[in-house]
Subunit: 207 residues, 2 copies
């Protein structure tokens, strides 16, 4: 069923994926309308039920597919040989921003899915999300060295605060993100590195 879907004309398939992603992202599982999806994707009503038996299967297959797309791209771009914790975090933040810029709707989809409450899919989504975290988060922190962090502060707390600071920066930009020019994106990278410098001054040994 889903195999058939993956084998269809890629252009049309991509239209369907994008339409469904957008609809579920903006309205959540229950209020997303299959009618809207087929209208946006410019296919007939019947076709979507030919490839996916029902709305639930469409949603879950889409969830899996988008997870794979993002995880693959994320891990692909993340350098694996950066031991310094701060540099690694800075790099991870950049990669995330890049991906967020490239796939805003997919990120919105996962944000919506994360707070999904409809009983028809709630558990399935939570399970998939947990599994994804367990599988991939360790890969990010693998081989990272925390020994540069100041001795006089709790390492774990320092790590959390650094992550929160970078998250806060990303959130503060998320509104103006979509219409950012290449130059503005470049400026942002410079700005991030100035934040990284501050973090280094504050949380690292001053050697």
């Amino acid at each position: 069923m889903f195999d058939k879907f993956m084998e269809m004309e890629p252009e049309k398939r991509e239209r369907i994926v994008q339409a469904a992603t957008k609809e579920f992202a903006l309205k959540g599982y229950k209020n997303a309308s299959t009618n809207e999806i087929v209208k946006e994707a410019k296919i007939s009503k019947g076709l979507i039920f030919h490839y996916f038996n029902n709305k639930k299967q469409l949603y879950l297959h889409l969830y899996d597919y988008l997870t794979e797309v993002i995880v693959t791209e994320y891990l692909g771009k993340l350098k694996n040989d950066e031991p310094d914790f701060l540099k690694k975090m800075g790099q991870a933040a950049l990669v995330k921003l890049e991906l967020f810029r490239k796939h805003p709707m997919i990120f919105k989809f996962f944000l919506t899915a994360y707070v999904e409450t409809d009983p028809e899919v709630r558990e399935e989504v939570a399970g998939r999300n947990q599994k994804m975290v367990e599988t991939n988060y360790p890969k990010i922190y693998e081989g990272v060295d925390y020994s540069n962090i100041r001795e006089d502060i709790d390492k774990e707390k320092a790590v959390s605060m650094i992550i929160w600071a970078l998250e806060g920066y990303a959130n503060s930009k998320s509104g103006v993100f979509r219409n950012m020019t290449e130059k503005e994106f470049g400026d942002m990278i410079v700005e991030i590195s100035s934040y990284m410098d501050i973090l280094k001054k504050c949380f690292y040994k001053s050697n």
Copy 2:
């Protein structure tokens, strides 16, 4: 109309406010159902349209009412004579957590309202929010002294990062918040102050 509503039997009024808050908070403007609200509030369908001509007025009056409740309580609890920036931020974070714990649904309501997209109320909500920020944010930062921040880092960036760190902490707790005992809440306050100590060590002059 709304005056009449405020004069009705407080217990019943509170039932209506809570039911409407919950429904709009969980489903957003469009998908919130007046039928559900009256069912939850244990009143008849007609009554809600007796006090509020239509769904839109109900929503906007509720928005204004809840804004006043939260703003009044927040400013009332916030000490006005704390000049030290870090202490003030720590105190503001605590007050926010306290309020969040006391009124989780109201916070959820505003979170949902913040991303409201329905054209019927979108502009009104955005306008109200902007006005509220303009009116009240200056009150928080009034008379605060930033001179203790280290000279070798950009003050504005330091301020942002401190705020982001505290926000990050609050977010990390927001999941386990509702079922927190009094003791756990106390532990959390201790934990916050240990984070505050770290922030002080990192961002303040070391004198």
